[in-house]
Point group: C2
Chain length 284, copies 2
């Protein structure tokens, strides 16, 4: 009864358009190029970086992985980001987390040129977003809106509860939804009576990083649920912040994990990179 709002088909269409634009740019002398800066021995991070690199290459976007290693200092990382920001051949820059102890992703991301900040990590990008100025949004936050759009779900005038207030997902998703005329509530770990709050919402966006946090008790019948959680399971899989079995039959629709917000996020990162390359090409 509960529709699955897959992100795969939309992501595939987006990648197709991105690949066509990448080919056009390459032919006109601006082959799109993405750089991922990483400084960790974390295995799941390495896996994610390789998956982005593969997805990029499939779209005709060259992907450079700048692996500075887990002993990189904040100065090393900042210098590399500044160098890539100044490099005319690089169009998109991603700073991968986690970073070594003492390195702040927020502070370092300020070194990423806003025009190349394809994952909206620079605080200036976030501020421009909040101020309604052009900027790249964090891809995951944008994917929340995009997956709803892809399934023709209107957010204007509807009550949306965003569970989670992170700088990379909760806050920017709230800003994007607000910009689309949703009435947005941001809930978090200090929220009292979460179930009453999410239960009053037409659309619930779960971005708390708590496996199975949202159950049937947290939602109204017919609610639309977007699951941003990507929590590792003991068997090496992923599980979301929404208990899919519990909400089944009560929710009108749910984005699956995996296969919902995730593939759209990656496709948007690549689309942003090609947009950045197109702007660089237009400016040249």
């Amino acid at each position: 009864m509960t529709d699955l709002l897959s992100g795969r088909e939309y992501a595939a269409r987006l990648r197709e358009r991105t690949a066509a634009e990448a080919a056009r740019l390459a032919a006109s002398g601006t082959p799109p190029r993405l750089a991922v800066v990483t400084a960790t021995a974390d295995e799941s991070s390495a896996w994610y970086v390789r998956s982005i690199a593969r997805a990029a290459e499939k779209c005709g976007i060259h992907c450079d992985i700048a692996d500075l290693g887990p002993r990189a200092t904040p100065a090393d990382i900042g210098a590399r980001l500044a160098g890539l920001s100044a490099d005319h051949a690089t169009h998109g820059i991603i700073l991968q987390t986690p970073l070594p102890p003492g390195a702040s992703a927020q502070e370092l991301a300020a070194e990423i040129a806003v025009a190349k900040d394809v994952d909206g990590a620079n605080p200036l990008s976030l501020g421009r977003l909040a101020a309604g100025l052009p900027a790249f949004a964090p891809a995951t936050a944008e994917a929340v809106v995009a997956v709803l759009d892809a399934h023709g779900i209107e957010v204007a005038g509807r009550r949306v509860a965003v569970v989670g207030r992170s700088t990379v997902v909760g806050k920017p998703a709230a800003l994007l939804l607000l910009d689309r005329d949703a009435t947005v509530t941001v809930a978090h770990s200090r929220t009292q009576d979460l179930a009453a709050l999410t239960g009053a919402a037409d659309i619930v966006v779960a971005a708390a990083g708590c496996p199975g946090l949202i159950t049937a008790d947290h939602i109204r019948p017919g609610a639309i649920l977007v699951d941003v959680g990507t929590n590792p399971t003991p068997d090496g899989g992923l599980t979301g912040d929404i208990d899919a079995a519990s909400v089944d039959g009560r929710a009108a629709a749910l984005t699956p994990v995996p296969g919902g917000v995730g593939p759209v996020t990656t496709a948007l990162l690549l689309q942003h990179t090609v947009r950045a390359a197109a702007e660089a090409n237009g400016a040249a």
Copy 2:
């Protein structure tokens, strides 16, 4: 029955502390200096700028009014802001609105150095605020939280409805309240059933610019109301977004207009300027 949450006493205490710090800085060779850039023939704007200048001088802060006139171009305004940002003797910069047609306050405010952006107008300041990094918040948004603090009203864990989503008040107030662990809903002109939404909140912050928008029907008994509205009345006075007569006896507390958020806003602008001067003095 409804307590009036005056901002005047707190503002007076804040100005006193600010004046003491300004005197200390002047004695140590860094007399605090605020610049207000204006480019309008608007009379109420001119009145407001003069009132800031008077309040600043009373605190021992020198205030320069850079009146570029209503024919100033965006380039003129940007150049002046950049010049003041580079001027070591200037510690705080305010860009007064309205601006001439074609000039975007958001875009121009990017020319204000973040360290001198005492009214949090630069999108980078807003982004740093959203990312939890040090930055000056827009003074009006900060005054909302400060007036609640001044009266010992706890916001953590409480449901707060912010009515209005402007870049200068609604959004930054929501971010500040979220940072203080409130569960925050942002409502606006496209919100459906505003009364149900504000009626579910413990604290309602009215920042919509609509005189008398919030009435007894919009609030729960015992609600705490913060009125950010400053709507001119035909007789030359000011009226808020909350219908004070209507909510009287039903709300637990209400900030008056005038005399609530307003005086705190001005006092915070001056405090920010002295903080900026102290940092410049410390860095010198």
